[in-house]
Symmetry: C2
Subunit: 351 residues, 2 copies
DNA sequence: CTGAAAGCGCTTACAG
DNA sequence: CTGAAAGCGCTTACAG
């Protein structure tokens, strides 16, 4: 069997039809595995497909059939390991169902999110998995995307959009984190990092407050320290925890990035998490297990969440008219050294 | 201005043409910003485009124009922060040039790589950025992809494929790492992790050997310890470093994952990197800066490499007939605590 | 079982 | 400056 010369020109159904002496329709039927084609014809066509190095043009087929085999994934940024793991799970599940993933990054900018969605929509995705940039306006996004393309929102709630939503159980997670510290003897527990206007932060604070109240502890306002959810900003804000006496002995952090920043800031003050201050993060990013000390955190398994998001959007594609649904993914505590009891609270440890 | 009812049906050029009393051709010219259209006509059409919520179907346009506005990115796995950063850089640069990124993960399996490439090719990417799975056969991939779609190979060399190649300067990197340890007084330096059959591992070993030889040190065979490039496997293999006396006092590691595993393995033996053994990694993944101790490593800035890869493939699209080129990206040493001189070699430090 | 024909949504010479 | 017509690569009733 001879191999065709390296062709710049695209090989089309017509080329193969001509080469095997049948019509384009017959070649198409062979490609789509139709039982209508005679065995001999099929074999002849298949040989010719290989000989010419035919590549199916799914875009043309989809155009004709009025279907799409891609799903757009719009996230903050792959540099964030939480989203990288999530994207990895999405891609794995989508690929397994014959879809291709169109990638888009917002960099947490509403402006870029608008541009990215517009560009991706022009590529006619069957659906969109969207982790909204902070400050997104649901109604506005709804107008931008329109009613034709189903969207699964992940992580950050988007009211007014009437889309499916995959939520992390932020309230329970923060309760678990706070309960863990209470159980280790802490009473003065801060909530460190995040912004009031982020829905995930509000929910985590709510869980924190609830756990404290249930344990008979009244949260002091100065235990709430805001900061942008990055390591650097967190390290800069550590001082705010210790401006008033008595200072907190432990902190539930908005997320792991903030927790790592807090630990760095503690170190800069000659203190050490897990030694004279207890820290719990949120997310369980890969760094959490190798930091010094390893970070106790709330694990959300972003990779599994990605697979779940993919399943949910595929389900929606099958049933476009079902009412919008919210799915809450459970989280669990991953205890590590950063939340060990501080020396001040544990007389059994020598200084 | 009234908003059209939420339409399930796609709004096409014909709808807009009908709505604004012109032909489809004119609407198309408006969309593409042609100066041929009269100002009044343009305004009328643009109003109608908005009113109906028209979404450009780039796939149909590309089909007609015989162009493509997507680039496929095929990597090992986004769970690996090195590739996540790389992908982030690729996507950033591609989006900036109006291309959309089609994502594919091989999970380091030649089998899956084949399937993923086949699927992505059917989506007609203008080009492919490929970080080949270990054990890839260049000639075979060449046959699979064909001559129509340009490929930029990243990270792992693919002989016989005649494609552009973006290489990391592995030899120089390993020389830097080894030189750093030599300078700190080490003579018995191991090369830990990686596989003989990986080209990047071979090159890193070559740089290591070269630096040792230049310093008058003859590398001992037992200083070469192979293992799969994962944290877990590395931790399991640590014992192999110490089976014979005199044992090495330092190690250049194949990559950061292996280095982190080595540090964990040392800890399990009651030893500590940077204290009584010096460790240098390769890649500078995010974990490196927060490990205990922070990991000295060779930084390759994968995000910048991603942007560079995108630039290279776009350049290739502009000039498909230029000869294939190899680009070598330079790397640099990022010193941290894990390579501090061991106590045994530095009498100035108290035990 | 196979082929001729229409059509998916768009673009682009070509007339006018 | 605008419109009618052909065509990108494919699929799918519809005849035969």
């Amino acid at each position: 069997m001879s191999i065709a010369p390296p062709a710049r020109r695209r090989i089309t159904l017509s080329d193969v039809a001509r080469g095997s002496g049948v019509s384009r329709a017959t070649v198409s039927l062979v490609l789509r595995g139709s039982p209508l084609v005679h065995g001999d014809t099929r074999a002849r066509v298949e040989t010719e497909l290989k000989r010419q190095g035919y590549v199916y043009h799914r875009g043309a087929a989809n155009l004709r059939r009025n279907v799409s085999t891609s799903v757009a994934l719009v996230i903050n940024d792959l540099s964030n390991p939480f989203f990288a793991e999530f994207a990895s799970g999405v891609d794995e599940a989508l690929a397994g169902s014959g879809y291709v993933t169109l990638l888009g990054s917002t960099g947490e900018s509403v402006e870029r999110q608008r541009a990215v969605l517009t560009s991706l929509l022009e590529h006619d995705p069957a659906g969109i998995i969207l982790s909204p940039a902070e400050g997104s306006d649901g109604a506005q996004l709804r107008t931008l995307v329109g009613a034709r393309t189903p969207v699964l929102v992940f992580n950050r709630e988007l009211p007014d959009a009437c889309w499916d939503f995959l939520a992390l159980d932020n309230v329970s997670g923060a309760k678990l984190a706070t309960g863990h510290l209470l159980q280790r003897g802490h009473r003065r527990i801060a909530f460190f990092g995040g912004h009031r206007d982020s829905s995930s932060c509000r929910q985590r604070r709510e869980g924190y407050r609830h756990a404290l109240t249930e344990a008979g502890v009244t949260p002091e306002p100065q235990w709430l320290v805001e900061c942008a959810p990055t390591r650097l900003e967190a390290a800069r804000q550590v001082g705010a925890l210790f401006v008033r006496d008595p200072a907190p002995t432990a902190a539930v952090c908005y997320n792991d990035a903030v927790a790592l920043g807090l630990m760095a800031g503690l170190a800069a003050r000659g203190r050490r998490a897990g030694d004279d201050f207890a820290v719990v993060g949120f997310d369980d990013i890969p760094e959490a297990s190798v930091s010094a000390p390893p970070l106790t955190t709330i694990a959300v398994d972003p990779r599994a969440r990605g697979r779940q998001a993919a399943e949910l959007i595929l389900q929606r594609l099958r049933d476009p008219d079902a009412p919008a649904r919210t799915t809450v993914a459970s989280v669990h505590l991953q205890p590590r050294a950063s939340s060990d009891a501080p020396r001040a609270l544990d007389p059994g440890v020598s200084p």
